[in-house]
Amino acid sequence: MPPTPRHHALSTATPRIPLHRFHGGLHLEGHKAVSTQDPILRLPLPERLILPLRQHIGEAAEPLVKPGERVFKGQILARGGSFVSAALHAPTSGRVAAIGDYPVPHPSGLSAHCIVLECDGEDDWGEHRLPPIEDHHDLDPVRLRARVREAGIVGMGGAAFPTAVKLAPRGEQRIHTLILNGAECEPYISCDDMLMREHATQVIEGAKILRHALKPERCLIGIEDDKPQAIAALRAALAGPEYNDANTDEEIDGIRIVPLPAHYPTGGERQLIYVLTGLEVPAQGLPADVGVVCQNVGTAAAVYRAVTLGEPLISRIVTVTGGGIAHPRNVEVPLGTPVATLVEAAGGYTHQVSRLILGGPMMGFTIASDEVPIVKGSNCVLAVTADELPARGPTLPCIRCGECVRVCPADLLPQQLYWYARAQDFDQAQNHHLFACIECGCCAYVCPSNIPLVQYFRFAKNEIWSQERERHKSDLARRRHEFRQERMAREEREKAERLAKKKAALETAPAGADEDPKKAAIQAALERVRARKAADEGGETPTDAGDAGRTHQD
């Protein structure tokens, strides 16, 4: 039986680009209006900023400053360790108070390496703005990528994947579509909405910069239709205020603003690409594999600021909301600001607050303390009451009802994956495409048995990754050992050969008096040098292999 067709074009009165519907997903109540009543509030500088060295997916950044050092705003504090990493800059001027382990916003609740910055209140850039790029309407991709990397820009939608990596070409594949993700499908979160309303020009200009560099055939900005003000603001920024026909997605300047039906998780990268283009990003690949680059609208704005104003990524907009917050709103804060400061700015907690979540109610994680800092990927601080999001009931056995199958946007069989994850049968889990799971939480949300499915999937993925790493390590050790054996054998052999040669030379020397003994000695010395060099060169290989675990591609 052929797979059910996935292409249902939505028909509307006016011609628009055809939209596609992915399987499953959920209709969730938005709860967004509470936090969009007031404009974005810029918070005053706190006394201290805590800057984790790893605010992104990939390797931690490597510190370039020492405790006690004075730094300017925008000064680089740590550089991206490897290809998949991101630099870190001082959000304001001050003194590096310490470098050490502090609690960070991570589901594990553990501490990690951070730079602590004592702010001096001057907010002084010194000489540390990156040189603004004038001709940004004709930036070449290499330069754009370098700037994005320099500015430490990562995906602002929550995943915090280094943007430069996403802009890197993938083999021969040409980029034909650039997508800006303004879907913001998860309930409660409204920071992208507010960004688009208040800084529409930055988003549109960012889109233009990316477009000029990537030269795609088209650029689509996807926004869920529960954000009419954001859509109107972007339209105005794109085509002037008189252009406000909400019923069209007409292309202007190569850019189309496409309202999307609100449906969780439309904002998931793979889902959004599918909705807008009908293309499926391979489960093991990147959007560039199908000729698409997808960036969050916040990322586009950050690119604009890095290119035209020379500002690295040092602040972000965060939604502070939920029934546990007295006055929900959006705030713009320097990275490293403690969550508690944001909560205070939003009127503090209400009495009924029961849980603190970083991110949204579907994919966010709870944090035990509000002392942890805001990082590049923090889009929302959600403080909820027990009435609002009651604690889940006791977990019952899976009754195989198939609800999870019905809602899974990745077309997985979550109940089957759960079975394998629980039995630690990771082989079967991989056969069932565990790694295609985007951890959207739809399955766990509908499960009548209250099974924390996503937790099981994360556990299984982590186990498989660590097994993989172990295997890699032992492979490496084995290779190193084999190489050492080989080198020793070779050295033995060469030594024996040299001895034999010497002996032969000695034996023939008296006979061949015409041979210059000096020449022979030089020859022998050269021989030795060559042999040692060969040995040394070989000896370096294991160290290289040791680094091969990282991804050196750039």
């Binding site: 509000d370 009931g393 009802c401 991989q430 009548p448």
Partner: protein, 349 residues
Amino acid sequence: MRFPTVTSPHLTPPHSVGRVMTQVILALIPATIAATWYFGWGVLINIGIAVTTALACEAVMLTLRRRPLPPALGDLSAVVAAWLFALTLPPLVPWWIAVIGIAFAMVFAKHLYGGLGYNPFNPAMVGFVVVLLSFPRELSLWTIPAVLAEQRLGFTDYLNAIFLGHLPAGLTWDALTSATPLDRVRTELGMNRTLDEIRENPFFGDFSGRGWEWVGNWYLLGGLWLAYRRVIDWRIPLAVLLSLCALAAAFHLFDPGRFASPAFHLFSGAAIVGAFFIATDPVTASTTPRGRLIYGAGIGVLIYVIRTWGGYAEGVAFAVLLMNMAAPTIDHYTRPRVFGTRRGERDAP
């Protein structure tokens, strides 16, 4: 400030097992009332006996397995299984038959496999098959539907009959009971009568036996409501009934004298309750969307085959149990294509 930590998602689920089971019970109520009206108080008394026994067995087994009682007892799955089991029993069946059947179902078909969610076979049908094989005579004695009966028993008469085996003075079992429509057709076809002759008997109504066809309608109503509420997947009942009707229609057209019409098959015996309430038991059914179609179609075909050529007049229980056995295999071969993958591809971490 300190806060408790839990895993995502944080939105609370709209469903719970208890809620699902409650809706199934609600959907069974119209048909239960209809059955009580047509076949007597024995229907309700059987449900009472079966439900009590099921809950008692569940409690005992949970205690023996050292599991906490409240979540498992509160999920109502035992009540649903017992209710369905009771509805398959003739209303005048002695009490101990109901007890044996449902106790076997709970202990052997459910808890010894690990409890709810782990049982490969539908417990209600296991219980029914056990008593059908052990007590075939008792299981064939259905009360005559109200529309035809000259004598109607009161509630206490039923209690006396079921618990003590006493009938009111002057009444015999024969006067109160008769075979089911399927049994009757089967026996009389065996005596070389044609369907038209058989159906002349006032016992038969428009489609099937009088009374029977009406109870079937109420099951249909409850089942459609469940499908509408998405408590059950429409695919399974649709596939069961379509395949049953398709086969019946084909053979009926071929020889209307020997093969009953699709409508007769649909409204006789347990076809509708089986399609909507029994085959849809999620634990023992297939879970993939395509698998559910295949699973349902398999049940429909088997019902027809058993009814027409098998050793029993009714085949729903056997058909469901046989397809229960096939469900894991069906699931394996009907996995949906995962987003962003090609069939047969495997993940690399």
